[in-house]
Amino acid sequence: MSSNGESKCYFMQLQIDGYLDGDLSEAQEGVFMSHVQDCSACSSEFRYAQTMQDAVMELPQIECEDRVLEPIHNLAAGGRQVQDDVQRDSLVTQIAGLLNSVPLYFRYGFSAALVAVVAVVVSLSVVKPTEEPNQLIASESVEQYSPEDIALALQELNVAIDYLNQVSQRTEVMIGDRFLVTPLQDFINASFSRAKIRENAPLNNGPI
C-alpha cells in the first residue's frame, strides 16, 4: 500500500466519529462510505467503532431507587429546623446590621448600658441570698428578747437619736455661720461702706 493510501485511510478513520454522529456533509459522507466499502482495514475499523458506539449507547440509565434517597427525604422533612436556624441567624445579622448603621457613640453607649444592666442584675442576684440569712437571724434574735429588753433598747435608741439631732443642728449652725451668714454680712457691710465713700468724695471724671 502506498503512503498516499495510508494517509487516506488515516484521514478516513479520523472521520469515523463524525460519520457516526451525523456531522459529515453529504459529499463527505459519500467519499467516506465509498472508501470504507473499498478498504477492508477501514471497514473493519469502522465496524469496530460502530459496535463500540452501539454498546456504549445501549448502556441503560440506572434507576435510582427510593431507598437510596430516603436519608435525603428525611433531611428535607426535618428541614424546618434548619430553616429556623437560618432565620435566627438572619435575625442576629439584622441586629448587627442595625447596630452598624447607628452612630458610633450610640453603639458604645448602648453596649455600656447593656453591661450596666447586666451588672445590676448580677449584683442583685448575688446580694439577695446573703440578705435572707440576716433576716432570718434577726427574726430569730427578736424572739429571744423579752418586751422589757425591747422597751429599754427603744429608749436608748431614742436618746441616741436626740443626741444625733442636736449634733446635726449645731453642725448646721456652724456651717451656716461660717459659709453663708458671715460672708453675706461682710458683703453687705462692704457695700454700705463703699456707698458712704461715694457720698463724701464725688467722682471727678472730666474730659481727658
Partner: protein, 195 residues
C-alpha cells in the same frame, strides 16, 4: 422550598446515579455519591441558579466522583474484579447475547479506566445523551474542548487492547453479517494501515 427540592430530586436522580455508576462501577459507591450530591443541593439551594440546575448537579456529581476515586484508589482493583464477576453472572442467555453482555461489561471497565474529563464526557454524551451545551455547563469547558475530548475519549476506548481483542475474537465474525453497509472483503489484511 421543600416541594421544589423534592421535585428536583425526582427529576435528576436517575441521571446522577447513572453518571456515578458508570464512573465508579460499584453500586454502593454510586449511591453514596448520589446522596452526597443531593445533600449538597440542599445546602446550596439558596445560592444556585435554578435555571442551570441540571448542569450544576452534574458538575457536583463529577467532582464527587473524582473525590471518591481519589479516596478509593487503593481498594479499586478488588472492586473492579467483583463488578466484572457480577456482570458475568447477571445475565444468562444464549451465547451471542452473553458475548454482547460481556463486551458491554468490558466497555464499562474501559470507560471507567479513562482519565477525566474523557470519562465524564463519554458518559454524559454517549450514555446519558446530554447535549453539548449541558456538558459545557457541567464541566466548565468550551464547546470545541468538549468535542475534541469526546473524539479523543472514543479513540482511547477503541485503542483499549482488551476490548479490541475481545471484539475480534468474539464479535467481529458474528456481527459481520448484520452490517447495514455492503462491506467488500479485500485480501489485504495487515497492509500497514494506521490503527
Amino acid at each position: 422550598m421543600q416541594t421544589l427540592y423534592l421535585q428536583a430530586i425526582d427529576q435528576h436522580r436517575h441521571r446522577v446515579l447513572s453518571f456515578a455508576h458508570y464512573s465508579l462501577r460499584v453500586r454502593e459507591d454510586a449511591e453514596d455519591v448520589t446522596q452526597e450530591v443531593f445533600i449538597k443541593l440542599w445546602k446550596h439551594w439558596q445560592k444556585i441558579d435554578h435555571e442551570k440546575l441540571g448542569a450544576w448537579l452534574m458538575r457536583v456529581a463529577h467532582n464527587c466522583v473524582i473525590d471518591h476515586v481519589r479516596k478509593q484508589r487503593p481498594q479499586q482493583a478488588n472492586l473492579d474484579h467483583y463488578a466484572e464477576v457480577e456482570d458475568q453472572v447477571g445475565e444468562e442467555s444464549d451465547a451471542n447475547q452473553l458475548d454482547q453482555q460481556h463486551f458491554k461489561s468490558q466497555v464499562q471497565s474501559a470507560i471507567k479506566s479513562l482519565e477525566d474529563p474523557f470519562r465524564s464526557i463519554v458518559i454524559m454524551r454517549d450514555i446519558q445523551g446530554m447535549s453539548y451545551e449541558e456538558i459545557e455547563g457541567s464541566l466548565e469547558l468550551s464547546a470545541s474542548q468538549v468535542k475534541v475530548y469526546l473524539h479523543r475519549a472514543r479513540r482511547k476506548l477503541r485503542e483499549n487492547s482488551k476490548l479490541r481483542q475481545f471484539f475480534e475474537e468474539q464479535i467481529a465474525d458474528k456481527s459481520e453479517a448484520k452490517q447495514p453497509i455492503a462491506l467488500v472483503a479485500n485480501n489485504d489484511k495487515g497492509s500497514g494501515h494506521v490503527q
